[in-house]
């Protein structure tokens, strides 16, 4: 068995083989093992957060991650930024006929490692196989549930609040752009793909934590524009405070990308009260994933929308971009 065949998705013996010999080798939670139609879950807290997402990233493997790691981190991060602790995860695979089993195994290894590190259990799943050329190798859908600790709603945000990012911006978008080899650039950039539950959970009990979001597609700028629109408040961002890695800065300058609009897969935008900003920054910086955390702006009532205060002291508007700079980034 070297390649995925149509029969692997038939629901028959080949499917059974694939699940028992490959999937269960890496995914072995007590909830999953009975292989029933639904998994039974226990919660200590009746307040549950749920999220779902599909992953179609191209290429499937890139420096710093792969589609499996991305799928776990994406789901975990959506729960964590909602003020909840991720608990359980579903995994649904759509695989193209002819996909190498070895590659599937690499993805599963990565899923196992990432989910264990993030403390989430994979409790249910599904496998479908489609004919050659009907999908690009492998797509993954995940649904995650978590227990709510502190509900973070956008209405919490008010004038004077601080806008914090947990680290450098644009790493994932740049990594994937380079990994596609569409540009004549001889460099390798590592994605920031990471599960953020360990970084963000310690913030839940800090008074003044107001709202969080993981800035994936569309980047930090898109998240902030959405906040400004939904709250009818203004946001002022300071260009010189935005953390960007040197390699990401160099390459995005070359390609004409703006790191503020590039995807991140291991970062959060954290909005806190003015008073809590220092405590939250300090706590973030104690964690390896938050050592470059920075306060990049403020919520204001002086104007609507998002405005960037540039390095030379000028001002320009940040808006949502209509065109997708890089499709299939996650």
């Amino acid at each position: 068995m070297k390649k995925i065949e149509i029969g692997h998705g038939s629901g028959g013996r080949l499917t059974r083989d694939l699940i028992e010999k490959l999937f269960l080798k890496y995914l072995d939670s007590n909830e999953l093992k009975p292989l029933e139609d639904a998994a039974y879950l226990r919660f200590e807290n009746p307040n549950i957060a749920i999220t779902t997402d599909s992953y179609v990233v191209r290429p499937l493997f890139f420096p710093g991650g792969d589609i499996g790691k991305l799928a776990v981190c994406g789901a975990v991060n959506d729960i964590a930024v909602s003020g909840a602790i991720p608990k359980y995860l579903s995994l649904s695979f759509i695989i193209e006929e002819g996909f190498l089993i070895k590659h599937l195994e690499d993805v599963l290894k990565s899923i196992k490692m990432t989910s264990e590190a993030a403390g989430v259990k994979i409790v249910t799943g599904d496998t479908k196989v489609v004919e050659r050329n009907k999908c690009d190798g492998l797509y993954i859908n995940t649904t995650a549930v978590g227990e709510i600790v502190t509900p973070l709603v956008i209405e919490n945000i008010s004038d004077g609040d601080a806008v914090i990012v947990t680290g450098t911006l644009g790493d994932h978008g740049t990594a994937v752009a380079i990994a596609r080899n569409e540009f004549d650039i001889d460099a390798s950039v590592e994605s920031d793909c990471a599960a953020l539950s360990g970084l963000l959970t310690p913030l839940f009990d800090i008074d003044g934590l107001k709202w969080m979001r993981d800035p994936t597609r569309g980047g930090v700028a898109t998240v902030l524009v959405e906040v400004a629109e939904k709250t009818s408040l203004g946001i002022e961002i300071y260009e010189d405070k935005i953390p960007v890695r040197d390699d990401v800065r160099f390459i995005s300058d070359m390609l004409g990308y703006d790191p503020l609009y590039l995807a991140n897969e291991g970062k959060a935008v954290v909005i806190t009260s003015h008073e809590a900003a220092d405590e939250i920054l300090n706590k973030l910086r104690l964690h390896s994933l938050g050592k470059n955390a920075a306060l990049i702006g403020r919520i204001t009532t002086k104007h609507k929308g998002v405005r960037l205060r540039t390095k030379i002291g000028g001002e320009r508007v940040l808006d949502m971009l209509e065109d997708d700079m890089l499709p299939r980034i996650c």
């Binding site: 540009f183 000028g314 320009r316 065109d323």
Partner: protein, 346 residues
């Protein structure tokens, strides 16, 4: 106070109090820096920074693009050109939407590689742009190109269009920021004509906001002193004589011609075509391309935007029918196009 703040303070103290001052840049990268640094928000009320014809794909005539689309439909042809060029709209669509056999390249050297890998096809390099892209095209000709590679030259000369702008009283330019990249090829001396013949202060500047501010300060200094010079605040890159080697090979393969600028019209001696001794490489001649009559895009004011007569926001289509995702006019396509830059920063 940092250096930028100092320069801005200087600009405010130098600017004449009794009249408007218009300073034009003629380079998409300059406009990019000005817009993305929010520089206009820091300028005195009566000082206007106007974007001029700095976007190469914006001025490329519709006729050449339509011919490129037609060529790409031939089974024996692969058309290769720069990425932005693929998306520029015409009355017959864009190369990307309506073309058939085409590839994006980022440098002319890739055209050679494609020609070598497809020896059974005719590779047509749709070579566009100002002096900065002409030099690399001349360089591959100098190196020797495969027999199946042809050049469709749609190159334009920056000084030629700047002379048109100077003569246009409607615009009323008080100073030029000369393009840094083009100057690296043609040399800062190439702009002497503007200070000497037309009395317009002209400064060669680079692409950092601070360097551009320095250029603006120098233009205002000249206005204050009532003089006109061509100066260079980008002297670590630009020499007075420019890149003489590049100039030599450009003159070897290309000669000036009367060409059409999209939305502007024919300007004498403002374009470059291959010299007749290289006709065998000239796609225009080998494939007997005919001129297609240009059609105005209803509502689009790209012509006025390119000439600095209108800001993009004056266009009725701006941010409505015309967006970077589905551009109606050429200035919305490229990251060097004024409408595209304004869309993202205003």
């Amino acid at each position: 106070m940092n250096k930028s703040e100092n320069l801005i303070k200087h600009i405010h103290s130098l600017v004449p109090k009794d009249r408007k001052v218009k300073i034009m840049n003629v380079c998409g990268s300059h406009e990019h820096t000005i817009a993305f640094s929010g520089m206009r928000s820091l300028m005195p009320q009566n000082l206007e920074l106007i974007p001029g014809p700095g976007c190469p794909v914006c001025v490329c005539p519709e006729s050449d693009i339509i011919n490129a689309i037609k060529l790409s439909k031939r089974d024996d042809v692969i058309l290769v050109t720069y990425g932005d060029m693929l998306r520029v709209p015409t009355q017959q669509g864009s190369i990307r939407a309506e073309g058939k056999n085409f590839r994006m390249i980022t440098s002319p050297f890739e055209a050679i590689a494609i020609a070598k890998n497809h020896s059974d096809k005719k590779i047509i390099f749709f070579s566009i742009g100002f002096e900065t892209t002409t030099a690399p095209t001349a360089a591959i000709l100098e190196m020797g190109i495969p027999d199946n590679l042809y050049i469709l030259s749609s190159h334009r000369l920056t000084p030629a269009i700047m002379e048109i702008l100077v003569k246009d009283a409607d615009i009323g330019i008080d100073g030029f920021i000369a393009p840094g990249h083009v100057s690296a090829i043609v040399g800062s001396n190439a702009w002497n004509v503007f200070s000497e013949k037309y009395g317009i202060p002209t400064v060669v500047a680079g692409f950092e906001a601070e360097n551009l501010l320095l250029g603006i300060v120098d233009i205002l200094r000249q206005i204050k002193e009532g003089i006109a010079e061509t100066t260079n605040v980008y002297s670590n890159v630009v020499r007075p004589e420019g890149n003489t080697q590049a100039q030599r090979i450009m003159h070897k393969y290309f000669e000036v011609s009367n060409v059409n600028w999209r939305g502007i019209g024919y300007i004498p001696d403002s374009g470059l075509e291959l010299k007749s001794e290289y006709s065998a490489r000239d796609a225009r001649k080998v494939f007997e391309l005919k001129e297609v009559k240009e059609e105005k895009i209803p509502g689009c004011i790209c012509g006025e935007v390119i000439l600095g007569k209108a800001y993009p926001s004056k266009c009725k289509l701006f941010k409505k029918a015309c967006t970077p995702q589905s551009p109606t006019g050429p200035c919305m396509v490229s990251q060097e196009g004024s409408c595209n830059i304004w869309y993202k920063t205003n």
